[in-house]
C-alpha cells in the first residue's frame, strides 16, 4: 500500500477513529467496541448500534479492519458474535491519524501558551 493511499483516509471520521482505536488493543466484537468507546471516553462518545455496525461494514469494505477467525475460549465465547481486528493498512491509517491528532494537540498547546503568556 502506498503512503498516498493511507493519506486518502485522513482525517478519519470520528466513529471510524474510535472503532479502530478500540481494535488497536486487540480483537474485539461489536458490542465490546461499543462498551470500550463508552468507557474510554467516560460516556462522552456513544457509538449507537446501527451507526457502529454501519461503520464496521464500511471499514471492512475499505480494508481497514477485517473479521477475525480467532475466537476466545469456549466458556467466554458467544457463537453469534463476530470479532474484528485491524488490517495492516488499518494500523498504518490509525498511526497516521494519531500523528495528525498529536500534531494538532501540540499546535493547540503552543497557541495556548502564547495566549496565556
Amino acid at each position: 500500500m502506498t503512503k498516498v493511499h493511507v493519506q486518502s483516509f485522513i482525517p478519519l471520521k470520528p466513529q471510524w477513529f474510535h472503532i479502530m482505536l478500540s481494535l488497536a488493543g486487540g480483537e474485539q466484537h461489536g458490542y465490546g467496541i461499543m462498551q470500550d468507546v463508552l468507557e474510554r471516553t467516560t460516556g462522552k462518545v456513544h457509538l449507537w448500534p446501527a451507526t457502529l455496525y454501519g461503520s464496521i461494514k464500511r471499514l471492512i469494505e475499505a480494508d481497514l479492519i477485517e473479521e477475525s477467525n480467532d475466537r476466545p475460549a469456549p466458556e467466554l465465547d458467544d457463537a453469534r458474535r463476530r470479532y474484528y481486528r485491524l488490517t495492516s493498512l488499518g494500523k498504518r491509517v490509525l498511526d497516521a491519524e494519531c500523528d495528525r491528532l498529536q500534531e494538532l494537540v501540540r499546535t493547540i498547546q503552543v497557541r495556548r501558551e502564547v495566549v496565556t503568556e
Binding site: 461499543m34 449507537w48 454501519g54
Partner: protein
C-alpha cells in the same frame, strides 16, 4: 417486549438483506442490551436516541447499497460497451413506449374535453348502437338532455375547390346533426350542423377542424360557402 423494543426490532428487520445477514443479529442484540441500560440511565430520552439512530441509518444503508449496485452496473457495462448500448437503447425504447401509452391513456380518460360546454355531464355508451336506437334514446326526453351519434375513423376522399386529379384521403367522423349542440360547441366561422340534416334530400354539410382549415385552406377566412367534394 416493550413497544420501543418492538419498534427497534422492526426497524432492524427492515435493513437491506445483505446487511442483515452480516450484522442483523449483532445489531439487534447490541440494541436490546443498550435499551435496558439506556432506560435505566437516561429514561425515554435514551430510548428515543437509540430509535433515532437506527431509523436514520436505515435509509442510509439502502442508499449505500444502491450506490454500490450502480457502481457495479457501470463497471460491468463499461467493460462491454456494445452490450451496454443495446441495453440502454432497449431501456430507452421501453420507457419511451410505456410513457407514451400511459400518457395517452391518461389524457384519454382523464382530460377535460376542450371546447365542450359541460364535459362532466357527458357520457358515452359502452358498446356501439345502431342509429334507430340512437333515435329512440334521443326521443326519451327524461333520459338524456341530448343524444348524439358519432362514428370515428371514417375514410373520405376529399377534393378541394379547384382541385383536379386524385382526391385526398382524409379520416374524419360521421356524426348525427345534433352532435355539436349536444357538446355545446360553437363554430369559429360559419355554422354547425342543423337539426334537419338527417332528413332525406337535404344537402350534406361538412364541418372541418381548425387544423384542416389551416393546413388545406391556408386559414382562408373566405372559405364559407365554397364546395368540396366528398367521395364523389
Amino acid at each position: 417486549m416493550t413497544t420501543a423494543g418492538r419498534i427497534y426490532r422492526r426497524l432492524a428487520e427492515a435493513f437491506p438483506h445483505e446487511f442483515r445477514m452480516a450484522y442483523g443479529d449483532q445489531m439487534l442484540e447490541a440494541g436490546e442490551d443498550s435499551m435496558r441500560r439506556l432506560a435505566n440511565q437516561h429514561g425515554a430520552a435514551g430510548i428515543l436516541r437509540l430509535i433515532f439512530d437506527i431509523a436514520l441509518r436505515l435509509p442510509l444503508e439502502y442508499l449505500t447499497e444502491m450506490r454500490q449496485d450502480m457502481r457495479y452496473a457501470a463497471r460491468a457495462l463499461a467493460k462491454s460497451p456494445s452490450y451496454a448500448l443495446v441495453g440502454v437503447l432497449s431501456l430507452a425504447l421501453g420507457i419511451g413506449l410505456t410513457t407514451n401509452v400511459y400518457t395517452s391513456a391518461w389524457v384519454l380518460f382523464t382530460r377535460t374535453l376542450s371546447g365542450v360546454a359541460n364535459p362532466h355531464q357527458l357520457v358515452t355508451a359502452e358498446t356501439t348502437a345502431s342509429y334507430p336506437y340512437i333515435e329512440r334514446y334521443r326521443d326519451q326526453k327524461d333520459l338524456f338532455t341530448g343524444v348524439a351519434a358519432v362514428q370515428n375513423s371514417v375514410e373520405f376522399n376529399v377534393a378541394l375547390p379547384g382541385q383536379s386529379g386524385k382526391p385526398d384521403r382524409v379520416y374524419g367522423q360521421l356524426v348525427s346533426p345534433d352532435y355539436f349542440s349536444v357538446l355545446g360547441m360553437e363554430p369559429q366561422r360559419g355554422r354547425l350542423l342543423s337539426a334537419d340534416l338527417d332528413k332525406t334530400g337535404v344537402t350534406p354539410a361538412v364541418v372541418i377542424s381548425d387544423r384542416y382549415w389551416r393546413s388545406h385552406f391556408n386559414a382562408d377566412p373566405d372559405i364559407i360557402g365554397q364546395t368540396i367534394r366528398l367521395n364523389g
